[in-house]
Symmetry: C2
Subunit: 334 residues, 2 copies
């Protein structure tokens, strides 16, 4: 196995999961599948940051409730979000008192958390791990782009940050697991020189292509090995670029590819342009939709690849590129 | 073993390490011990962010050079810094092409990276791991406080962000390791309600006390089990608070305690007030000083506890508290 790709010899199960989303997400194609819908954009908070903190907190509460465990039963938590200094996680999750590792992988963080959580279990060091990530449309616009009040126009290549948080309980033992994680291809930072923060699909597609090519080679598989190859939030523009890049590398993934950002909104009706994005996008889609498809037997094995665009408002304003990263996680029937 | 504390059954070695610091750090008490000194505050960059990116890049270059390995020999890299969206790591390390996990634990990130890197090795999934963290005085002031040009006054409780980056090579096998990591107590987020970003020692001390108390209980040891109990960047004010908090819990750690922030500068001569701080502070001190003391046999076993203050300029401006986190790593002679 080449560096960065690992196959798991022992079981790591996704025992339970939870999804909490905003109103707009509940009106999209997956709307009926989410565990909880917050009708209030501020999720009971006074600021957009507090809104996102509350999303993470509620996602973990729903998760623990669904799994029938208490915070004391959790050994360690891996969490992250898009805000500067990961404020949604640090403030949203402090009250649980669970040993904590904070992550930053932009919108790839859900994949990163599942990978790192799996490693802790495989090392035999912990029994139960919680992974949680989030994003919020308004906190992300404030963090990266313009104040909402400014009412800026959005090009068709722009994505719409999902308001939502997804949480997962991992364990090496489970009576009735939802799915099993069996391998990883860890992402590399890929900088293809693109600077357009209104076209993050284009920024991230080369990173996905890099991770996918390494994955196919390291695991010695073809795209057909998977019922779905699922990216986080490439959107429609990024998807097409990914198809082209993979074609150049000799792979046709058009039959297997699915993008959480494309699935979560009805782009035409909901005016979301290229699609949904954010740490929360693939997390709630994994919890509400992908795991259900695996449980129902419709999909036996998927490659889940959360994708991140590595920019800050400072790096953007200083004229830097937007590198991408893509963390691949093999998820299959238990 | 209680949740959050883990003892390692198999070896995890610190095989090599590197430290790169700025001019002021080279003039401090540990000045002669660092691998490389950057006389230019901008480290060859055009912005403060680029300066910090270059610090991380150089730290990894020095590490790989000292260890006699190439980027292709590294399976995965764990990295983080204090900037929004971890820009120093994401831009500074992209050229290595090493599979990458980004972390955010404020100034505790060095401990977090050593913990997560150890877990990957113990899981048997990877052979060689690089952990790297950094901070830069000017990029941190810009990120969290005032523009340098403003020339704000600093209270005596304020700390001085260290300009530096420390990098470590971990492996399960080593011909002549520098030290061995044998256990962790993973930090919890502790919010004691303090809001003063000019007194981060006070914000972080309760988190250290929490981690330390759990560590002593879970490992069933007393402070005397360690030659040194080494916090990251509590500074002089935070140190006194920690002593008081531990006294209340029934532990006297005054004989064993050392703080990297206090060691790295001569507070009187260098006008650094409470002491040094930042992700780079404990990382370069571990590399240049602590590991040397262990190698020389002066110290057999230390508890290394990088400490983080979880704030952003947004959380501060919105009137939030500054929670703390402290990640404990047991480091001993190989």
């Amino acid at each position: 196995m080449s560096k960065g790709s690992v196959k798991f010899e022992s079981p790591v199960y996704i025992c339970a999961s939870a999804s909490v989303v905003g109103k707009k997400e509940s009106e999209g194609p997956l709307g009926d599948l989410f565990d909880r819908v917050e009708e209030d954009d501020l999720v009971g908070g006074k600021t957009w940051e507090e809104a996102e903190e509350n999303l993470q907190k509620k996602a973990v509460e729903v998760l623990l409730d669904k799994a029938g465990v208490s915070p004391e039963d959790i050994d360690v938590m891996y969490a992250g979000d898009l805000l500067a200094q990961s404020m949604a996680s640090n403030f949203g999750l402090s009250s649980f008192g669970i040993p904590f590792y904070g992550l930053y992988g932009a919108c790839s963080t859900c994949g990163e958390s599942l990978g790192l959580g799996s490693m802790a279990i495989l090392a035999g060091l912990v029994k139960r791990v919680v992974c949680v990530t989030s994003s919020h449309f308004a906190s992300a616009e404030k963090e990266f782009r313009y104040p909402l009040e400014y009412g800026n126009q959005r090009p068709l290549s722009a994505s719409w940050t999902v308001t939502g948080s997804g949480a997962f309980l991992l364990s090496g033992e489970a009576a009735s697991p939802r799915a099993r994680i069996t391998g990883l291809t860890i992402g590399q930072i890929v900088d293809s020189g693109i600077k357009d923060s209104m076209n993050m699909g284009a920024c991230m597609a080369p990173a996905v292509a890099s991770t996918l090519e390494r994955h196919f080679r390291d695991f010695d598989v073809e795209p057909e090995a998977y019922d779905r190859i699922i990216t986080g939030d490439l959107g429609k523009v990024g998807q097409q670029i990914l198809f082209d890049l993979m074609q150049e590398k000799g792979y046709d993934i058009t039959s297997q590819h699915m993008d959480c950002g494309i699935e979560i909104f009805d782009g035409e009706k909901q005016d979301t342009h290229a699609g949904g994005s954010g740490c929360g996008c693939c997390a709630v889609t994994l919890s509400a939709y992908i795991l259900r498809q695996i449980e129902s037997g419709l999909w036996k094995k998927v490659l889940f690849i959360p994708t991140g665009a590595l920019l800050s408002k400072v790096s953007f304003n200083e004229g830097n590129t937007v590198p991408g990263i893509a963390q691949a996680v093999v998820i299959e029937q238990p």
